[in-house]
């Protein structure tokens, strides 16, 4: 279990380095998928099953999908991948930096924290209660967040209007 959590955290760090090192948004989004999946696994090992489900559904299935096709509107026809030298050396640099920082600090691994309040012990879990509260007592925040998401879609489409003829376009 400890080994599994360690592997997942390693995946999070490598994925974050990949996101930071990539000039192309496609491969950076791939790194984000890796980070989210590994992080989700780690959260699950710490007891937050509902949170991990929400992370997959909303973050990966909602926001990252919208991000990917918004990026595709002003796409780079020949994106720079991870295997190219310029990107690989940055990624190696970031991993060395984080490894060095990890050696210098002695933090206890947070494997004994549990996500949520006794998440697997009671019938009423905090996170699920929060979601139902958002639909009930939190009416205006639900409507305004949904409206903000819709407007974000319109904003992305307006800003990238014109694809290869507009100002937001790939230039090599």
């Amino acid at each position: 279990m400890l080994y599994c959590g360690n592997l997942l955290l390693l995946g999070v760090v490598v994925g974050t380095a990949a996101v930071a090192a990539n000039p192309s948004p496609f491969y950076a989004a791939l790194g984000l998928v890796t980070v989210a999946a590994m992080g989700c696994g780690f959260i699950m090992c710490s007891g937050g099953t509902f949170l991990c489900l929400i992370l997959f559904l909303i973050y990966l299935g909602g926001m990252l999908v919208v991000f990917a096709y918004s990026v595709a509107l002003c796409a780079d026809p020949f994106p720079t991948g991870l295997a190219e030298g310029s990107v690989a050396k940055y990624m190696a640099g970031y991993l060395l930096l984080t490894g060095g920082a990890a050696q210098c600090t002695t933090l206890a691994p947070p494997f004994w924290w549990s996500v949520g309040q006794e998440a697997d012990m009671s019938a009423m879990q905090g996170e699920a209660e929060g979601v139902s509260e958002a639909y009930g007592g939190g009416g205006i925040i639900l409507i305004s967040c949904a409206w903000a998401l819709l407007v974000a879609l319109y904003v992305a489409l307006e800003v990238s209007r014109g694809s290869s003829r507009g100002p937001v376009r790939p230039i090599k």
Partner: protein, 348 residues
């Protein structure tokens, strides 16, 4: 831009500010601020010019950074104290972090560097929205956090008046001058917000009326730098004759309206025992007076040599509504005698 999308974006702008005004929870306030940031981006890139896109990118990064710091501070406060109320925040560290986040969103010195560049990349209408409407939501939050005895806010205020005055001296582009003027005016607001939020409200209202008047005047005479101001008298002589009064009202000269907030703020600072701060604020206002005078000189007080094609053009009916401009210019020039009524209104 499609009119449906335009209406949607303007409605969302209104919704964001309204949410920030009505909320007593940090999360809802953050949602309102982010909605404002999102909705103005397509308005900034409406003409799809690379300079406008650059300005929109800079604006987005700055505002998103400020909103992120605000969110983190709110979450940390909830973690430490267990409650999310905006007006129940009392820890001075928390108030300091929130003040810095809001200063970044407002463009107060020393977090002001983005303002001139963003204003320069926009057309005057979008600059008007940025200088007036977008300031309301962060100011509403700043007024509510009830800072008490905070030297940070005095520092932000004095630095803003100083840098707003000093930085505008070397500018010939009018949009950058208006950006520095916005920095200086908001510096006055932040100086007094911890002593008298009603005076700060008055200062904000007078600034919004005056700034709106200046942006609309410049739009009507189609001038974006001082050279273009030199031939603006021919486009609309009556307007250009009244424009100096609007600019000098921004500078805070009596008997114009702009004197009212400055006078009351100096009085309040003196009552609080901050005489040196009041003196410094007045002295730095002299710096901004200089560039307002330069604009006045180029626009109205001097007739530059011109060739025959500079002869007055056909003055056709303007496509823009001028009634709002008439109200704003009247408010900017002649409301000083109503000072007691204004004080009574904002003290409610």
């Amino acid at each position: 831009m499609s009119p449906y999308v335009l209406v949607l974006l303007l409605f969302t702008l209104g919704l964001g500010t309204t949410l920030a005004f009505v909320s007593s929870h940090w999360l809802l306030a953050w949602v309102g601020l982010e909605i404002n940031t999102l909705a103005i981006l397509p308005l900034m890139v409406r003409n799809h010019h690379p300079r406008a896109v650059e300005a929109a990118t800079k604006y987005f990064l700055i505002q998103a950074g400020g909103a992120a710091v605000l969110l983190f501070a709110g979450v940390t406060n909830a973690w430490l104290t267990g409650q999310w109320g905006i007006q129940q925040a009392t820890s001075p560290i928390f108030i300091g972090v929130i003040s810095i986040a809001l200063a970044l969103k407002l463009g107060l010195a020393p977090l002001h560097s983005w303002m001139p560049e963003v204003f320069q990349g926009l057309d005057l209408n979008t600059g008007l929205v940025l200088a007036t409407w977008q300031k309301l939501a962060p100011l509403a939050l700043l007024f509510q956090i009830q800072p008490a005895n905070s030297p940070l806010l005095i520092f932000l205020g004095l630095a803003s008046t100083l840098i707003g005055g000093w930085g505008g001296l070397n500018q010939t582009q009018l949009r950058k001058i208006l950006a520095y003027s916005s920095i200086a005016q908001l510096g006055w607001v932040v100086l007094v917000v911890q002593f008298s939020p009603s005076l700060a409200t008055l200062a904000v209202l007078v600034y919004i009326v005056a700034a709106a008047a200046t942006f609309i005047i410049l739009k009507l005479v189609k001038s974006t730098n001082i050279n273009m101001l030199a031939v603006s008298w021919a486009k609309s002589p009556a307007l250009v004759a009244m424009a100096p009064l609007v600019f000098l009202s921004l500078a805070g000269l009596p008997p114009l309206t702009g004197f009212m907030p400055k006078w009351l703020i100096i009085e309040e600072l003196s009552k609080q025992g901050l005489g040196p701060a009041a003196t410094l604020a007045v002295l730095t206002a002299l710096l901004s007076l200089y560039y307002y005078l330069r604009i006045t000189y180029a626009m109205t007080l001097t007739m530059f040599p011109n060739n025959f094609s500079g002869v007055p053009p056909w003055r056709l009916r303007p496509l823009q509504l001028t009634f709002p401009l008439a109200c704003l210019v009247t408010g900017t020039i002649s409301v000083l005698p109503l000072t007691p009524a204004a004080i009574a209104l904002v003290a409610l």
